[in-house]
Symmetry: C2
Subunit: 181 residues, 2 copies
């Protein structure tokens, strides 16, 4: 079965973006080998807002080669958008009903792993339904003081640490599996 | 000069306690060598509420030898309580005015390092006045979803990662210095 991987960046105080949407604290460096992660997945799960913001993002001419490569890899992926309203979109498949059954169907199809991108509401739905197989949380060395929390309104749960990676920039990636009881 | 060290435990979502004061997620294990930290400090800085809750905590007869040792070490320390109201307390010194000047005076006295214990409001005051020399944040493998945040209402700031320690329990200690610009 394909793994569903929540992979995202947070600040040290647990925010995925600032109160005004700030993401300028987010560091992307060669030694993170983000392309290796992107090569391990072939499908991205988005909430509707995240998809509209980032689903068709393209690096511009001024971007680094690394960013252009990431952009190109992301564009090549299959995109699934979970939304209360269905939509015809040639670049993505919209799912608006039977979310859990649809996710189970997709994860049982052959393919690479799946990147659960967010936002927070979609992540909470996935956590509550036991649909996250791996958590890759890149903790950045910044405190925002306020913003949008990663696990907003989640019911309490425990995780099992499986790995950590420390990057030159001071980012620490914490990798967890769901806790088996 | 003695270092002022903020050393505390947070959940993965950045809370120092749950919405109802829950601390039962907090893990204390032999391999954390918390006694080594306690032996490196001889003074604890508390906010008034934290002091009233924990300042004179004593392990009970049922506690483990490790807990009894921690309790005994903590009892032996000099305690400074920052509070808007002064109070006569034979076990602690209360400071209610000129906080920054008083802290500077104390940190320039001879002695071991100083443990900045909390709560959140006191921590914010220290951060805003550049009085924290080291941040030791033990990230626990639990998501609470709600609670009291460590860095509530702090103005944005960056840190410099200096070390990380991974414990058997899945706790990851992130150690930071203030970022020099």
């Amino acid at each position: 079965m394909r793994k569903i991987i929540l992979n995202l960046a947070t600040t040290l105080d647990g925010f995925i973006e600032g109160a005004n949407g700030e993401l300028d604290w987010c560091i992307l460096e060669e030694d993170m080998h983000f392309d290796k992660f992107l090569e391990s997945v072939d499908t991205i799960f988005y909430g509707r807002v995240s998809y509209d913001l980032w689903g068709n993002y393209q690096s511009d001419a001024a971007a680094s080669d690394m960013e252009k490569r990431f952009s190109s890899l992301i564009q090549s992926m299959k995109k699934i958008v979970f939304s209360s309203q269905s939509r015809a979109d040639e670049k993505a498949t919209f799912i608006s009903t039977d979310v859990v059954a649809e996710v189970e169907r997709i994860r049982n199809q052959p393919g690479k792993d799946i990147w659960l991108y967010g936002g927070a509401k979609l992540i909470t739905t996935f956590i509550e339904n036991g649909l996250v197989d791996e958590y890759m949380i890149s903790v950045h060395p910044t405190v925002l003081g306020a913003g949008k929390p990663l696990f907003e309104n989640a019911a309490r749960f425990d995780l099992q640490l499986t790995d950590t990676k420390v990057f030159k920039s001071g980012v620490v990636q914490l990798i967890y599996a769901p806790k088996t009881r």
